[in-house]
């Protein structure tokens, strides 16, 4: 059974519907899946999450969460989803424990009842349970927010950009926690602007300007990248990029870490690229074959 079904969802903003946030989006998420929605800021990720958590009404289209319609059965959905908004939205003037207690009680449960579910997250902030939530560090706030979203044992968990603004170590920890939660059978939808996090999901949807570019497993997305990819480095990076883009055999070139990634139109053009590097650059130039990752795929999909 699918935990989340989205069919042809359209959402526009503005009086004249001039801003299209979601443009005919459809996808399914199966039970117990860790599904990533990857896209830049303003792609429509938050609008999608708000529709699925019954906070926002779509213009048209249908969506089901855990077998319930988001418009008709919103009351049932509110009982069984956990939502962690992109912005920290717990009470800063209440302590860690008070926040957790409050959210437990309004779901008619208690910390004790579901302690096993949040234990591996909550133990990390439990030493600070008397501290006001507003005085926690970014990573700890994140853990508290996740605990609060989980305290009623939701069947589907929506995490809107949970790792934005969190340091690298906390990010890694956070994804570890998600894995543990997945093992407990909770379906997780997570949105993120970071491409490197895509590989940690079971499946990802690449979204841009309200359109889904591709839905696949991280492997599948990378495998679908069929063009030859090279990495080039020299002491004159900026002129190199400009010159590369002018060549006929180059499909695309863009900065990628300390290298430029060069997408070739055809495998047979390799000698042309080698020739180009020799002609135009000094000895410091480095040319090597590169393995595409999600970011390369995203850039390729964006340009098409």
């Amino acid at each position: 059974m699918n935990a989340v079904i989205v069919e042809n969802i359209i959402k526009t903003y503005g009086k004249k519907k001039e801003v299209t946030a979601l443009n005919d989006i459809s996808f399914d998420v199966s039970q117990g899946e860790l599904f990533g929605i990857i896209g830049p800021d303003g792609a429509g990720k938050t609008s999608l999450f708000r529709i699925l958590t019954t906070l926002l009404l779509a213009d048209s289209g249908k969506a089901m969460v855990d077998g319930y319609d988001v418009v008709k059965d919103y009351k049932a959905i509110r009982k069984r989803v956990g939502y962690m908004p992109g912005r920290f939205s717990l009470y800063p003037d209440l302590s860690v424990e008070e926040n957790l207690n409050f959210f437990a009680t309004i779901f008619n449960t208690s910390i004790k009842e579901n302690y096993d579910l949040i234990k591996h997250i909550y133990v990390q902030i439990e030493p600070f349970k008397d501290r006001k939530a507003g005085k926690l560090s970014g990573g700890m706030k994140q853990k508290l927010a996740l605990s609060c979203a989980l305290i009623h044992r939701p069947s589907v968990l929506f995490l809107d950009e949970p790792t934005t603004g969190v340091d690298a170590v906390s990010r890694k920890e956070f994804w570890e926690m998600l894995k543990t939660l997945k093992e407990q059978g909770i379906t997780i939808l997570v949105s993120t602007p970071y491409m490197d996090e895509a590989g940690l999901c079971d499946r990802v949807a690449l979204i841009q300007n309200g359109k889904i570019l591709s839905i696949n497993t991280p492997r599948g997305i990378v495998d679908s990248f069929s063009k030859p990819l090279w990495a080039v480095k020299s002491s004159r990076m900026l002129p190199l990029l400009k010159e590369l883009l002018q060549e006929d055999f180059v499909e695309d070139a863009y900065p990628f870490g300390e290298f430029h990634h060069v997408v070739m139109k055809d495998q047979s053009d390799e000698p042309l690229l080698r020739q180009f590097i020799e002609d135009h650059n000094n000895d410091s130039a480095v040319l090597q074959a590169a393995r595409p990752d999600i970011e390369d795929c995203f850039i390729a999909l964006m340009k098409n």
Binding site: T53, T54, L55, L56, L57, Y74, K75, R78, K79, V81, Y83, P85, R87, F88, S89, L90, Y91, P92, D93, L94, E98, F102, F103, T105, I106, F107, N108, C148
Partner: protein, 372 residues
């Protein structure tokens, strides 16, 4: 019910953790009630008087003496040139010019008639008006005094004379504090009700917690009630503090019963809390809520009968005051505190206030949506 209990516990925790709110609740009534009634009363005092005396006679001196000893006037200028006196008015060193003409004494004695001239600085209308009236009364009094000295009245006066003596009911000494303190108390309660409640709810919007609340199964009704009840209780606490200060500082003991005041205040608070709720549903952040409630408070106070009488307003303004909950409460407070009105006397006020409560709260709950 269980949910409501937990929401209330959370609200009270947050309120008592906010030092700002406690300060507002405890210190604001104390300061307003201890300062305003002394400063803001209707009596005009310290009217600056310029006297232009062309006569310099025994009678003119007597008249000036009588005016200055009344306590309302301060003689700031004395000369024999009207131009100079007018200059004083221009410099705002005088509010009133009293000109005593040449031969004032002579005319009074010989012709039995004398004329005085009065010029008023009408920039401050109230001051000029009342100052002029005071001066006129004093001069009339002086006139009578002179006549009794000079003329031997026949046993039955040949000319008919109407003399008026008045007695002030309900506030025999015309103590303005009796009049102002209940009014100020009303304003305080209104602030706690509409302002604090509105800001509290908008704060949840601003920090985004309302988003988290909206995805929970909390019922709209529970959430709203959880927001209103704490401020309803705080409002009654402020009223109690206010009544205590009124009693200790001004010796104001309501002629009517406290029960009447509290019953009406309870209903009134529901109405203004509904208004606060309404403000919060139409504002996105605390500034907007503040500005909106500030705007409404201005209208409520100025068209509420606290400083100016509603009866002397133009007909259209009277219509506005009929939609002003503050005006009803001020009226009721004065009725109960000064006149000793009972619940039966204010039953129509009470009914109307209940109407306000239903309309405001209904409208607010109707327009508060958990989803957009």
């Amino acid at each position: 019910m269980r949910t409501l209990k937990f929401i209330l516990r959370k609200e009270f925790r947050q309120i008592f953790r906010d030092p700002g709110i406690l300060r507002v609740i405890l210190i604001m009534p104390a300061i307003q009630l201890l300062i305003l009634p002394w400063a803001a009363d209707y009596e005009i005092k310290n009217i600056k008087l310029a006297v232009v005396d062309h006569d310099h006679s025994e009678y003119s001196r007597q008249l000036i003496n009588k005016v200055t000893s009344s306590g309302y006037f301060i003689l700031t200028h004395y000369s024999s040139s009207y131009e100079q006196a007018l200059e004083e008015i221009e410099k705002d060193d005088a509010d009133l010019v009293l000109q005593i003409p040449d031969h004032f004494e002579k005319d009074l004695v010989r012709e039995n008639e004398a004329r005085l001239f009065m010029a008023l600085n009408a920039i401050n209308g109230t001051k000029a008006n009342l100052g002029g009236a005071y001066l006129r009364t004093i001069i009339q009094d002086y006139n009578r005094q002179v006549r009794t000295e000079w003329i031997q009245f026949p046993r039955f006066s040949s000319e008919t004379q109407i003399e008026i003596t008045s007695s002030n009911w309900f506030n025999p000494l015309m103590n303005y504090k009796y009049f102002m303190v209940p009014g100020i108390l009303v304003i305080l309660l209104t602030m706690v009700g509409s302002n604090l409640a509105a800001i509290n709810i908008v704060k949840e919007k601003e920090i985004g917690t309302i988003e988290q609340i909206n995805v929970t199964p909390i019922k709209k009704f529970h959430f709203v009630l959880g927001k209103l009840l704490p401020f309803w209780i705080l409002g009654l606490v402020v009223l109690t503090i206010g009544l205590t200060i009124a009693r200790l500082a001004y010796g104001i003991i309501p002629a009517g019963s406290f029960l009447t005041i509290y019953v009406f205040a309870a209903v009134y608070l529901l109405a203004v809390l509904g208004l606060g709720l309404l403000i919060s549903t139409y504002s996105v952040n605390q500034q907007q809520a503040m500005l909106l409630s500030f705007f409404l408070m201005m209208i409520f106070i100025l068209l509420g009968g606290l400083y100016t009488s509603i009866d002397s307003m133009p007909e259209w303004a009277k219509w506005i005051t009929r939609f002003n909950p503050v005006s009803y409460f001020i009226e009721v407070m004065r009725m109960v505190v000064l006149k000793g009105s009972s619940l039966a006397d204010i039953k129509y006020h009470l009914l109307k206030m209940a109407g306000f409560a239903v309309v405001f709260n209904g409208w607010a709950i109707f327009s508060y949506h958990k989803r957009s």
